[in-house]
């Protein structure tokens, strides 16, 4: 399949106050591919992907330079409808964060705040999202139970369903398996591989094996700098940059 650019980052820098957390990053992220972002703690991985849905707007005293183009729109521009952007670019967080509401209401939330009133449509979308998040079979009889009753892994899949229900184009995962056991992690990884048929996926992970398993492309960030970016297979076997090599070897022990 031909590679189409979904997200185009050019000369992107980001500042927390005076600290430059991202340094002149340029890269293209491809549609229907899984792109992994790896790098040591504090190198700016979260900062980077949180720019794609403008989540960093919540942090006062920050500033971005450069451009991020998603589907033809320069999303860092001032006139951008952030709410609309976040519907197109969904996010799943490190710690499962379902609302203290029912399972159903968690998934329907995105439609509810979009003022969708059609009950039948909402029910269909919730069911579809739960199926696509590989959770439906486990919980179909207790959609009205509190989401907090679910296990950690189920909660994370619920969060994925919540994100899918608004039909985004891109899904950002920030260390989605960091708090999960190996079995739940496997489920999420399989799910990501499944989801890439319909979505463009960016995943931050500390787990090199995971990055190698699920991703098509990998970017290595180091102190806010994009050191290396390319096809995962190649980056993990014959890294071009010595820093990448050191990082990978250190990680693999």
């Amino acid at each position: 399949m031909e590679n189409e650019v979904e997200i185009s980052v050019s000369d992107l820098s980001f500042y927390y106050g005076k600290t430059k957390a991202l340094k002149n990053i340029s890269m293209d992220i491809y549609r229907n591919r899984v792109t992994a972002i790896i790098g040591p703690s504090g190198c700016g991985k979260s900062t980077f992907i949180r720019l794609f849905n403008r989540m960093n707007d919540l942090v006062p005293g920050t500033r971005a330079e450069g451009r991020i183009n998603i589907g033809g729109l320069d999303i860092l521009g001032t006139g951008v409808d952030v709410v609309e952007l976040r519907r197109r670019v969904g996010m799943v967080f490190q710690k499962p964060n379902p609302f203290p509401k029912s399972i159903f209401r968690n998934v329907s939330y995105g439609l509810e705040v979009k003022n969708v009133k059609d009950k039948i449509y909402i029910e269909e979308m919730v069911e579809e999202a739960l199926k696509n998040a590989a959770l439906y079979e486990e919980i179909k009889d207790r959609l009205n139970d509190s989401a907090l009753m679910l296990s950690g892994g189920q909660q994370q899949r619920l969060c994925i369903a919540r994100c899918l229900a608004v039909k985004p184009e891109v899904i950002l995962f920030d260390e989605p398996c960091a708090s999960l056991d190996p079995v739940s992690t496997k489920k999420i990884e399989d799910l990501i591989t499944e989801l890439k048929k319909d979505y463009t996926i960016v995943i931050v992970t500390h787990n090199m094996q995971q990055a190698a398993r699920v991703s098509d492309y990998t970017a290595f960030l180091y102190f806010g700098e994009l050191v290396e970016y390319g096809i995962s297979e190649k980056l993990f076997t014959v890294p071009a940059d010595s820093r990448t090599e050191e990082y990978l070897s250190g990680k693999f022990g």
Binding site: R87, F99, M149, A165
Partner: protein, 295 residues
């Protein structure tokens, strides 16, 4: 061996300290009961609670506490209308809207307000609020239920604001992020996610604020006038239970019915605030349970 004795001594000291509040609670209840209950040898319980005349020094005396209870209820209800919107509004502003710098300046301000002695609020009510009320509504006196409500409401606001703010800041930020990330705006996030999650904490704040207003003495004594009739409007002077106790205690003779009747009023107050506090405690313990499950 020596070490063991030492530990035992420490354990005892702390146990005594911990149980002292229980001792005080029992002591207070017993005092109220022994001094208040003798009233009901002469006056029936119903006549006390539902009687409409409070003339404790007449011959024969009347111990109908309804006007006093109604006055308390009136003033407290009025105070709620002030402290609930003001308190919750300030809490929401501080936590959800104001930036870090505004909050770091507002929160201590609220805490200072909470620490001002109630007499000072009384002065403020007498000198600033009462004349204003008198002029605006063209009343014979500015010392009315409305004045009392306003001043008490202002007084309870910092309590409500501070506790409600705590409740809001207890809502995990991950809830806010999750909501915004699926395309909710700030307002929807606040109403649909943050407020419901903080709901029980906010109700606790309101209940404790109200319970403070009910028990307040000095301020009410200074700004509500003091006629012991069942209030028909907010524009007339009233006489809540607390100010009745405070103003009549001096003239009541120990062991006489009047004296006992004031303790009986104390009992009513005591159980009302106890009731509110138990409800607040119940709600907040359920709240902790609910959020605890999220971990």
């Amino acid at each position: 061996m020596k070490q063991k004795i030492k530990e035992e001594i420490y354990r005892c000291i702390f146990a005594v300290l911990a149980f002292s509040s229980l001792v005080f609670l029992v002591g207070i209840t017993l005092t109220l009961l022994t001094q208040g209950l003798p009233l009901f040898r002469e006056v029936s319980f119903m006549n006390f609670l539902a009687g409409t005349d409070w003339y404790p020094t007449y011959d024969p005396p009347d111990f109908g506490a309804l006007p006093l209870i109604a006055s308390s209820a009136f003033v407290t209800l009025g105070a709620m209308f002030v402290c609930v919107p003001l308190g919750i509004g300030s809490a929401l502003y501080m936590n959800e809207i104001a930036g870090y710098r505004q909050k770091s300046f507002l929160k201590p301000l609220v805490e200072i307000l909470a620490g001002i002695p109630s007499v000072i609020y009384g002065f403020f009510g007498m000198v600033a609020v009462a004349p204003l009320i008198q002029r605006i509504f063209n009343l014979p006196t500015g010392l009315t239920a409305l004045t009392g409500s306003l001043v008490l409401g202002i007084m309870a606001t910092p309590t409500v604001a501070s506790l409600a703010e705590d409740a809001l800041s207890f809502v995990p930020n991950s809830f806010r992020e999750a909501s915004l990330a699926v395309g909710a705006n700030r307002w929807q996030t606040l109403v649909k996610v943050v407020m419901p999650s903080a709901g029980s904490g906010i109700s606790t704040a309101v209940i404790l604020g109200i319970s403070r207003a009910i028990g307040e003495t000095m301020t009410v004594l200074m700004v509500t006038g003091g006629s012991a009739v069942i209030p028909r409007s907010f524009f007339q002077p009233v006489r809540p239970m607390t100010s009745t106790i405070a103003s009549e205690m001096g003239e009541a003779v120990f062991g006489q019915l009047h004296y006992n009747s004031l303790f009986a009023l104390g009992l009513v107050l005591f159980f009302t605030t106890l009731f509110f506090n138990i409800i607040a405690e119940y709600i907040s313990s359920r709240y902790r349970l609910k959020l605890g499950m999220g971990r």
